[in-house]
Symmetry: C4
Subunit: 207 residues, 4 copies
Amino acid sequence: MATSDTTRLEAFSDGVFAIAITLLILEVKVPDHAEIQALGGLWQALAHRWPSLLGYLISFATIGIMWANHHAIFIYVRRCDRPFLLANLLLLMTVAFLPFPTAVLAEHLPDPETRTAATMFYGGVLFLIAVAFNIVWWTGIRDRRLLGSNIAEAGVQTIRRYRMGPVGYAVATALALASVWLSLAIHAGLALLFARSETGAAATHKT
Amino acid sequence: MATSDTTRLEAFSDGVFAIAITLLILEVKVPDHAEIQALGGLWQALAHRWPSLLGYLISFATIGIMWANHHAIFIYVRRCDRPFLLANLLLLMTVAFLPFPTAVLAEHLPDPETRTAATMFYGGVLFLIAVAFNIVWWTGIRDRRLLGSNIAEAGVQTIRRYRMGPVGYAVATALALASVWLSLAIHAGLALLFARSETGAAATHKT
Amino acid sequence: MATSDTTRLEAFSDGVFAIAITLLILEVKVPDHAEIQALGGLWQALAHRWPSLLGYLISFATIGIMWANHHAIFIYVRRCDRPFLLANLLLLMTVAFLPFPTAVLAEHLPDPETRTAATMFYGGVLFLIAVAFNIVWWTGIRDRRLLGSNIAEAGVQTIRRYRMGPVGYAVATALALASVWLSLAIHAGLALLFARSETGAAATHKT
Amino acid sequence: MATSDTTRLEAFSDGVFAIAITLLILEVKVPDHAEIQALGGLWQALAHRWPSLLGYLISFATIGIMWANHHAIFIYVRRCDRPFLLANLLLLMTVAFLPFPTAVLAEHLPDPETRTAATMFYGGVLFLIAVAFNIVWWTGIRDRRLLGSNIAEAGVQTIRRYRMGPVGYAVATALALASVWLSLAIHAGLALLFARSETGAAATHKT
């Protein structure tokens, strides 16, 4: 089967990432007058929105950094075939899904009875995103037929460190049974961890 | 009448496809506390969202694969005139409409009284999308004046297999009268069928 | 003051047009069970959504064709300065506003008491879009300093026919006092009128 | 650490800016029939939406002009590394957040008891956007290693005038304690001030 270049695939993916990340804010609801009365003021009602704000922060950072790393894949993968395109669509399906578990998390984080389930659901979707990202990566480098020429093996190895993503998210999800705060701290930490230097290492081969 | 190139038409279409596919998640509603109480927990309430999740899956796959095949058209069609632009706008109008029947389907799939109508409405819109896609394709290859040079007739023939799209969606829609599950299974099957190898065959002529 | 090229201006505008056109569907609400009960079935309740569907159709066609004609401007205007950029931002502000009057129209079209006001509000916004479009056009061709070289005067004259846009929309808006249906028919007619051949004529100079 | 070019970073940022600016309209709610009854007509109910319209205007202008100035940065910054990418992500996080404080402002501006807090919250977010913009700019020009060649020092100095942004927004926010109207007037004034000539001066070096 033949291949084509990745320009429009990247543009479409950029669009989905950009929209998913921007839709997150729609889940933060404006405090109404009853809520303000009950809590004693608008500032208090806004502070009461902290679960939404926390969800916005973690999900925005996760999608944003996922986008940056998605970008890094295309430093190596320069051609596109149907299996790669479908793997990429699977990844986008999980990324575009994230506003929903983020809203579930924001709604239920203050409630001791449902917060564990909400955090595990949220972590489970992050786990699926990480799995899908690895499928995209493996589909892209399989047989090296979609790779550009002049790709250093060391660079391809570097990005392989994403294999740890699903493990990290699975651990964070399971730990929600012990403490949702620990679980969310690991999610934030994983975002920061993956924020580091992939494109840096990768782009060396380009400049 | 004269023609222009297709770059900005493709960019605009990519935008509409990317937004329509990402808006689908806004129709999945967060379970509220009354619902969780009634169903016995957050996990149960999330599981109760299966019609929304099923709708999300089928519509996401359908739009995503439609995008990939829309992309494939422009391997052949390299120029753009007003009739082609308007045909493309008609296609985008049907694609951007899909979040609405998806939400109707998700809302009514659990209800035995309304699920047949909801599934037929959903299938009817998929049928219109397939018809619009064929109009775009035929407008694009008519007289061969918008085609790029060096286009193999075999490639143009390959993509003609989309003629079967409207028939498939019409059959799936009609079968909802017998069983909505069979109808939805055919929709999912058609998405997988059209996920296969068009660009592969097409891109041969490009590389 | 110096100028720069229009690539990113076009990309940003494409984004706003694509999002505004796709958000229109969010204003079409899923019929709930009470409504279905009252109207005697889901099909009846969907048919009862005709004002929303009509609004979707007219607004989608208007924004889509406005996008195509916006595209046509950049066949002539090849450079960008701050006044042009701000004029373009003004146009985007009116285009991005359209989902609101569309929703107002859809909500109030069935109500004899409020439908005239709703139609005039909708028409008034279309009038503002047409005015803003003309401001963009005049800012772009003023002094001919932003125009590309080799621009035929005839082409520039052709696109000037947009001057009739504000007049047409003003007439349609005023006629809503006599009949909202006549007013909406003129809006649809204007969309079709502007759908004709600008880029065709324009692109002649490019090929 | 190595660098890569900024094309996809700009495209992703354009997407987020375009979506955030277009989502603003979703916060303007259609007047319902009770509201129209109470206020004596649809026109009166639409006029009653002035706080939403004012919020739409100021936020649209602010994001739009921020986009134009973001664009201006990339006339100088021609390469991208991880710190710059993360600084840019921080800016997008604040920009994508703006629809929320805009909605809070629109909801509470008519209420004398909560309007001061709402205006300060809104101004506070504009302050954060301005701070993030400066972080992007400083990360971009630090050590001059991401700058293009042939960049005139005068141009780099010009854009430095954004340092005044955070100060202006902080003053406007604090003045809300005295008068929310004065505060909003300053926000509008700052948008107009920053609407002036950066790209003009900048692009000189390009043409």
